[in-house]
Symmetry: C2
Subunit: 339 residues, 2 copies
Amino acid sequence: MGAQPSDTAPHKNPTLADVAAAAGVSIATASKALSNRYDVAETTKVRVLEAAEELSFSPNLLARGLLGGRTQSVGIITSDLEGRFSLPIMMGAEGAMAADRSTVLLSNSRGNPELELQHAKALLSRRVDGLLLVGDTPEPRPPLRLQTVVPVVYVYAPSQDPADTSFVCDNAASAKLATERLIGAGRRAIVHLGGPAQSLAAIDRAEGTRLAAAAAGLELIGGAPAMGDWHETWGWSSVHRLLDEANEFDALVCGNDQIARGAMDALEARGLRVPGDVALIGFDNWSVLCADVRRPFSSVDLNLDGLGRAAIQTLITPGAPVAGIHKLSGLIVDRGSIE
Amino acid sequence: MGAQPSDTAPHKNPTLADVAAAAGVSIATASKALSNRYDVAETTKVRVLEAAEELSFSPNLLARGLLGGRTQSVGIITSDLEGRFSLPIMMGAEGAMAADRSTVLLSNSRGNPELELQHAKALLSRRVDGLLLVGDTPEPRPPLRLQTVVPVVYVYAPSQDPADTSFVCDNAASAKLATERLIGAGRRAIVHLGGPAQSLAAIDRAEGTRLAAAAAGLELIGGAPAMGDWHETWGWSSVHRLLDEANEFDALVCGNDQIARGAMDALEARGLRVPGDVALIGFDNWSVLCADVRRPFSSVDLNLDGLGRAAIQTLITPGAPVAGIHKLSGLIVDRGSIE
DNA sequence: TTGGGCTTCGAAAAGCCTTTCGAAAAGCTT
DNA sequence: AAGCTTTTCGAAAGGCTTTTCGAAGCCCAA
């Protein structure tokens, strides 16, 4: 009943002027009190702070950004939002940003370079402090055809231009790591079941396995990595074939977790124990395949979260980012399928 | 050699004033020419447009947002960025926004209400036009404790306050749909392998199955849905138990795809054919489990993409969003495991 | 030649914050 | 008490765009 008090209809956001008026000081003083930097008496400072609290004031970041300073935000353009790759990367990036009280602006280019360019322009219009371009394959990609004031960092898919800054997974080193671990556990007859022969990720992982074996004086069973595709069926049929052809082997390095899952199932179907008879390790550490399953297995985690985090760090650190391709190695998550 | 021309060092973004100067008109005229709305002669318009193109001018959206109008952006706060639920929702939301030439600001609350509140304030400081709160369980959640000028919409996890606007999956209706499909294919002896008895999603799916069966005059095998957990092992062991106890059944409705995968494997291990001997359908349509596998199976797709899209539509449509819980039903993706 | 109606353009304000710099007040010294 | 320093505060500009509204120019008719 009666006239509605002002606090029932805050149809507008309070501004710094409102806070200043409530505290009985000038706008300039209010600003300094809130930013807690300049010369302002302790008593007036608390008065301003209380007024701001009372009005639940929060500064308009648009105005602040307009001042020409930083906007405390970066744009992320991912080429696929379905992928298991971009998501952990984005998560790492978001986490690093939030820790810095900054915000992520997200766009999805759906693998379309035109759309990517368009989104980049849109994000630049919002004056982001930097751009993160997240790919979904390790193949080098053409650089963004855009003159930008702010830094650009490529993640997962590196730029073809060596003057750009890229962060990628070190597939070869990670595969080496996994293979060395198997060798360290006493395995000698190692098979690599790789992805498609056209895929750079598959090639690097296969090569890493081969190198680690060679370094230990071993040759892979079959003489070379067996390349196929990324699917479960490939792992399943490969194990059957190996056994049918009476190959002796005591370890499987799989190009990804789906292949590993297929191999695991085939080993079970043929009555072989893991890791008793055969050790097995997958790639990607995709929990729905290697952890939340009937028979969990070890896998290489590519540390995509860390990749996103590192990329953001580089992006928001003042000064031009270091040019070149930065490779981050993965680590092994053991679930008892090795020894 | 010589003085560096201006186009080699565009260390600053061109402003509308630059465009106006280049075109020899005033700032106001340039603005009107670019927004293509007010009275401006055709010849001057093209002159301005050319100047803008030349300088590759893009308007500062911060300044535009400062005018008090809309910023053409919404904030999305998700409670988990790992989940398979929030990702498709976000993808749908982003797609709807991009189609509107708008941008998504992303935050991750990690399931922490304090962090959620903090992120909401931060996004509001950036003057987003709306807030999307994406949960990762269907359990109703406490509303955001924040007075906002812009609309808020809850997705997946509805708000406990009926005055709020929420968009959720209709698990019960979707399960009914799946069960009716099985019955329509001639199945009569139906088993429901559900998730944990404490999970609302699991309960709704079980209830939907039961209702559809009852509507056809059937009782579920076992008398009631069998509740367990969300894991593969539960599906695997349940099928073994059913067969060991000599239950007759010709259809399995599984609470999710992991359960379905376990059941599928068990059926194979026991020499039963799908769908010859037993029809099977999963839930969630998670392709790594039901599509990219050795033996694909049918699954209920909850249309999370559409959920995100619908929520955004409601959010950015002028006028207050319709209060209440909006339920969206899923659809069946058939992969030949039904008939 | 003058006045009226159109079309086209520009000056200026609004929107909100930060920063600079000058002014005022208060305290101190001699 | 006068002059100086130190402390505290405020006026104003800067940053970029949109919008309003008045001014100027033009054509044509009277």
